[in-house]
């Protein structure tokens, strides 16, 4: 009961709270359906209760905000409903249609106690958000942008956005890492949340990091798996979708779920249903490169072998032909030579015979010529001998008479005969004196006469005057 103090009626706080509670419970007797956005779920794991923060926005501005409570049992039931129908848990930022009662607590104040949330409405809202993202991207003309990028022949270098411990990531690495063909991939993990409210910012943060070193990568692979079909609404987010659409290298997704494609998957360069399928897709790309190379190698070997075999055959045939032609020519030449030899032989015989005849004729001529010559010469010799004899006789006769004459002259000149004619020879010391100079007075001279020798002494010497 209120206190009275002078003219003032004073209530305690509890009395006010109880009054509000009484008024409200009288006014709001039943539960009613409300449409609002759940700004924050405010789930307290310890108690299992939630205290969702409800807002209504107009052009992005909050125009109403009311606290609410969602007790543990209601939360579990509603959340299961959501998981079943939306494939997403109750989470921050969803639009919802909920059934509530107005409650007032003396301590906690006014709140809406949520007793049910219509998952179908939220589903529609999510679908609407998804469609909005799609149409925005289409209006901006970037919906196909990432798809139109050229995927390298070998998407070998990957920036992987995933959760280190997730099964999807492990499966993916197992397949590309342990492939039996020895294909080598290079990958770096950029860890990120992939579901729930913070996934959008987390993925965008890693995309920004990758963008800085984008030259080192061929593709970005977003890999999620093992999380079931829950919490995929982040992949319909406009900001994230836009980042992916505008990403400078192809973005590949292997998000792993069975429900409708999310926007990110629609705009990704390639969407594989699961990480495993994405790994197979990449391996297939390698096959598409490797198999033709292998085929090319086989074709080359086969073709080159064939060309070489054909060429060898051609050379052999040519050689065979050449041989036969050559043999033919040799044979022909051989015949020709034999023919020539025969001709030569005949010709030679003929010539020889002719020469023999000519020789015989010459011999005959020589013999007869010689005989004639000999006869003539004999006659000449005879004649010559005869005239020689005659000439000799005359010469001899002439010489004989000359000789006689000489003999006579010589006889006259004999000192005996000379002495006889009165001449003498005077000697001095045994030597004939030819000049008076050789003699001096009183020399003994020896004078030889025809019949003896005189010895005399020189009395005087008279020089004959020169004539």
């Amino acid at each position: 009961m209120p206190e009275i103090a002078g003219d003032k009626k004073i209530y305690s706080l509890l009395e006010v709270a109880q009054s509000i509670q009484k008024t409200l419970s009288k006014r709001y007797t039943s539960a009613f359906w409300v449409k609002a956005e759940m700004n924050k779920l405010n789930f307290y794991p310890h108690s299992g209760h939630c205290y969702p923060d409800l807002v209504e926005k107009l052009d992005g501005k909050v125009i109403a905000q009311v606290k609410s409570t969602l007790w543990k049992d209601d939360y579990i039931r509603i959340n299961n409903n959501f998981l079943h129908i939306l494939k997403a848990p109750l989470s921050d930022g969803i639009s919802m249609l909920f059934c509530a009662r107005i409650t007032f607590d003396a301590i906690h104040g006014l709140a809406l106690r949520i007793t049910d949330i219509d998952p179908v409405f939220s589903l529609g809202e999510l679908e609407r958000e998804k469609q909005e993202t799609v149409s925005k991207l289409q209006q901006e003309g970037i919906f196909m942008q990432n798809k139109l990028l050229k995927l390298p022949m070998l998407p070998q270098r990957m920036a992987i956005i995933s959760v280190q411990t997730s099964k999807g990531y492990a499966d993916f690495l197992k397949i590309i890492g342990g492939n039996p063909w020895g294909y080598k991939f290079f990958h770096i993990l950029f860890p990120s949340l992939l579901q729930g409210d913070n996934a959008v910012d987390s993925i965008i943060f890693q995309l920004e990091r990758i963008r800085k070193i984008v030259n080192h990568f061929d593709v970005v692979a977003i890999i999620r798996g093992g999380g079931g079909d829950v919490g995929l609404s982040c992949f319909n987010n406009y900001r994230l979708s836009r980042q992916i659409a505008l990403f400078p290298i192809p973005v590949l997704t292997g998000i792993g779920h069975a429900t409708n494609e999310t926007v990110v998957e629609m705009i990704a360069h390639k969407n594989a249903i699961t990480p495993t399928e994405l790994a197979d897709y990449l391996l297939q790309k390698f096959h598409n490169f490797s198999v033709p190379v292998q085929k090319a190698e086989e074709k080359l070997i086969d073709k080159v072998k064939r060309i070489l075999t054909e060429e060898r055959l051609r050379v052999q045939n040519t050689a065979k032909y050449f041989r036969s032609v050559t043999e033919n020519i040799v044979m022909r030449s051989h015949h020709e030579i034999q023919q020539r030899v025969r001709e030569l032989f005949q010709q030679s015989n003929f010539l020889l015979l002719n020469e023999k005849k000519a020789c015989a004729s010459s011999v005959y001529k020589i013999r007869s010529g010689t005989l004639t010559f000999c006869n003539t010469s004999r006659q000449d010799i005879k004649q010559f001998a005869f005239s020689l004899r005659k000439d000799l006789q005359s010469i001899l006769k002439q010489e004989n008479s000359q000789m006689d004459h000489i003999i006579r002259s010589i006889a006259n000149m004999h000192p005996e005969n000379v002495l006889k004619r009165g001449y003498s020879i005077t000697l001095i010391n045994g030597k004939a004196i030819t000049h008076v100079r050789e003699v001096k007075n009183s020399d003994t001279l020896e004078t030889i006469l025809a019949e003896g020798t005189l010895f005399s002494e020189v009395k005087s010497i008279k020089n004959q005057d020169p004539l």
Partner: protein, 70 residues
């Protein structure tokens, strides 16, 4: 002739050589040269399949370097 083709250039050139040989456009005189070239291209392609030249540590260092600037 490009002496250090990228793997995709090597792939295209290899296909080109194979089709030339298949269509009989290559004489026996050129054959040895072409086969040598093809062998080189095949080895480029095969080595690309089984190796990468990227260095994780260097990339991460680049990434840190970039981050420091911001």
């Amino acid at each position: 002739m490009n002496d250090s083709p990228t793997y995709s250039e090597a792939f295209d050139e290899l296909q080109q050589i194979v089709s030339e040989i298949e269509e009989g456009q290559i004489s026996v005189d050129e054959l040895s040269e072409k086969v040598k070239r093809a062998a080189m291209l095949i080895s480029i392609c095969k080595s690309k399949l089984s190796s990468t030249e990227e260095d994780v540590n260097k990339i991460l260092k680049d990434l840190e370097g970039e981050s420091d600037d911001h």
